[in-house]
Amino acid sequence: MIEIRFHGRGGQGAVTAANILASSAFKEGKYVQAFPFFGVERRGAPVTAFTRIDDKPIRIKTQIYEPDIVVVLDPSLLETVDVTAGLKDGGTVIVNTEKSKDEVLKELKKKPAKLALVDATTIALEVLGLPITNTAILGAVAKATGIVGLDYVKEAIKETFSGALGEKNAKAAEEAYNKTVVYEL
């Protein structure tokens, strides 16, 4: 079972990202589970969401405490939230940021085995005209982890957002896929 934790801020669509990732993996024939942190969401406040992916039905009904993969949608969260809390040894961290690898590593409490960086905010502004990074970051997840193919991510995005909005969001994911830099540490 692969466990993924998303960190965002209320309004950025972390919960939607967790759901779309689950739908993408489902399209590849996996069993999936996606859920928000069982809390109260407020626009701008730190938000956590989770995805589980497995080859067999997922029975466990708890939050994720020891993720394999952490995805950070908002760069400013690194200063206030311990995003690597519980990260498994050998784990992956994916961050939306314009900062360098060394700058990001300085802000992480635990050094991951793999770090992936992408400036998803700029991509979202260019492609969508909005700083909403939840679809772009999924391109980075596909690139950095290989747990789900980009085509499936794009398909799931287009099912979530209909018409032109779906096309644009799928494009944002593809751009992010192409621009994500992955560091093996």
């Binding site: 759901n19 589970q33 996606a34 029975r59 939050q63």
Partner: protein, 395 residues
């Protein structure tokens, strides 16, 4: 019978409920929004707006009215549904008696949510269990699939025995969690669940009836007996419908208590609903480490499956009853029921009550392990350290 090819979708527990309502061809929904239930009735409203479902939707000003309108619809012979949670269910309390007393086969989803104050929107079973004596039957879903299947089976059972049924799911843990659900093609649902055939309706003007009329001491008693008997008789119907569901769609619900590894277990975990998914995961882990453990997931709390409980209790040395609820001044509600059901039988397993996860506090595999270690020590020593443990209390 047409060949069964399921339609698999990734949906929340609430959407699973809404799809089941659509597939059951419910005719009337009357509801009032409340977190974490609201997305059920929003999805139903969306189905209606898109022309996907032909349902009369009645927006009302309170849950009391929601149940009143649902009762009215059901009394005319319609298949009627509503959904609520916590304070909303409490506000319905009076009308719940009217529904069961009038023997109306209403199905309602209650999303288990903690009772306020303090204010909480998270999972807790006390809201539904506090409606224990209203005459409603209660089915507890472990996962989104069981929410969907539960609603479909509930209509069939309810309309057979003329008793309303509450299908219960967990706040957020199911209601807002997306998971894979196998849905049944409409024509196959139609075969399983044909249109309701009411015995009496308010709109049959050639055969006028009265609903909720006065019963003097000469008659009231027999009405109560008939409702009591309907619950007892329902056990057979529940098993038959559960078996039929399994034969048609591959998921068997003929047991009112789902059992795992009971035959060679020293002790079992017993509980309701979504808690038991985590327990199953933990039981596999514990067994791989040599623990002789099993589980008993109580699907139907009303009618209470005394006979199946006794079969389990005769096989094991101990039962750890997990209650995400509490009856103040006494103990966990399932624990109380289970002990009461076994009194007077020969079965005397050691029973301990663990109060867990009230108000949505997370219940984890690690918690199950700690309980297993405690139960193992109790069984080996034969000494119960205490009967009721507030397991998650901060120390």
């Amino acid at each position: 019978m047409a060949e069964y090819k399921p339609i698999r979708k990734v949906v929340s527990g609430n959407y699973a409920a809404a799809y089941a309502v659509k597939h059951a061809r419910v005719q009337v929904v009357a509801a009032y929004p409340i977190t974490p239930q609201t997305s059920i009735i929003e999805k139903i409203a969306e189905f209606i707006a898109n022309g996907e479902a032909d349902i009369q939707y009645v927006p009302v000003e309170s849950e009391h009215s929601a149940m009143a309108a649902t009762i009215g619809a059901s009394a005319t012979g319609a298949r009627a549904f509503t959904a609520t949670a916590a304070q909303g269910l409490a506000l319905m309390h009076e009308m719940l008696h009217w529904a069961s007393g009038a023997r109306l086969p209403i199905v309602m989803v209650d999303v288990n949510r903690a009772m306020a104050p303090p204010w909480s929107v998270w999972d807790d079973q006390t809201d539904s269990l506090a409606q224990r004596d209203t005459g409603w039957m209660q089915f507890y879903a472990e996962n989104n699939q069981e929410v969907y299947d539960g609603v479909l089976m509930a209509f069939k059972v309810a309309e057979t025995v003329n008793v309303p049924i509450m299908v219960v799911e967990s706040a957020f843990i199911l209601s807002h969690t997306y998971d894979v659900v196998e849905m049944i093609p409409q024509e196959l649902v139609d075969e399983f669940l044909p249109p309701r055939k009411p015995l009496y309706t308010l709109t049959d003007f050639d055969n006028p009836i009265s609903v909720g009329a006065l019963a003097t001491p000469a008659d009231y008693y027999e009405f109560r007996y008939k409702l009591a008997k309907a619950h007892e008789d329902a056990k057979k119907i529940i098993k038959e419908v559960g078996r039929e569901f399994g034969e048609r769609f591959g998921r068997d619900y003929s047991d009112m208590i789902e059992k795992g590894h009971v035959d060679d277990a020293d002790f079992v975990f017993m509980g309701l609903g979504s808690l038991m998914g985590t327990v199953k995961e933990a039981v596999d882990l514990l067994r791989s480490e040599g623990y002789r453990v099993g589980y008993a997931k109580v699907r139907w709390f009303r009618p209470f499956p005394r006979e199946e409980l006794l079969e389990i209790a005769e096989k094991v040395k101990g039962i750890a009853v997990l209650d995400r609820n509490f009856s103040f001044g006494q103990e966990g509600i399932l624990f109380n029921e289970a002990k009461g059901a076994l009194y007077g039988t020969g079965a005397r397993p050691i029973m301990k009550n663990y109060i867990v996860g009230l108000g949505g506090r997370d219940f984890t595999v690690r918690d199950v392990r700690a309980i297993a270690e405690n139960m193992k020590a109790i069984i080996e020593s034969g000494k119960l350290d205490r009967e009721v443990e507030w397991f998650h209390l901060k120390r």
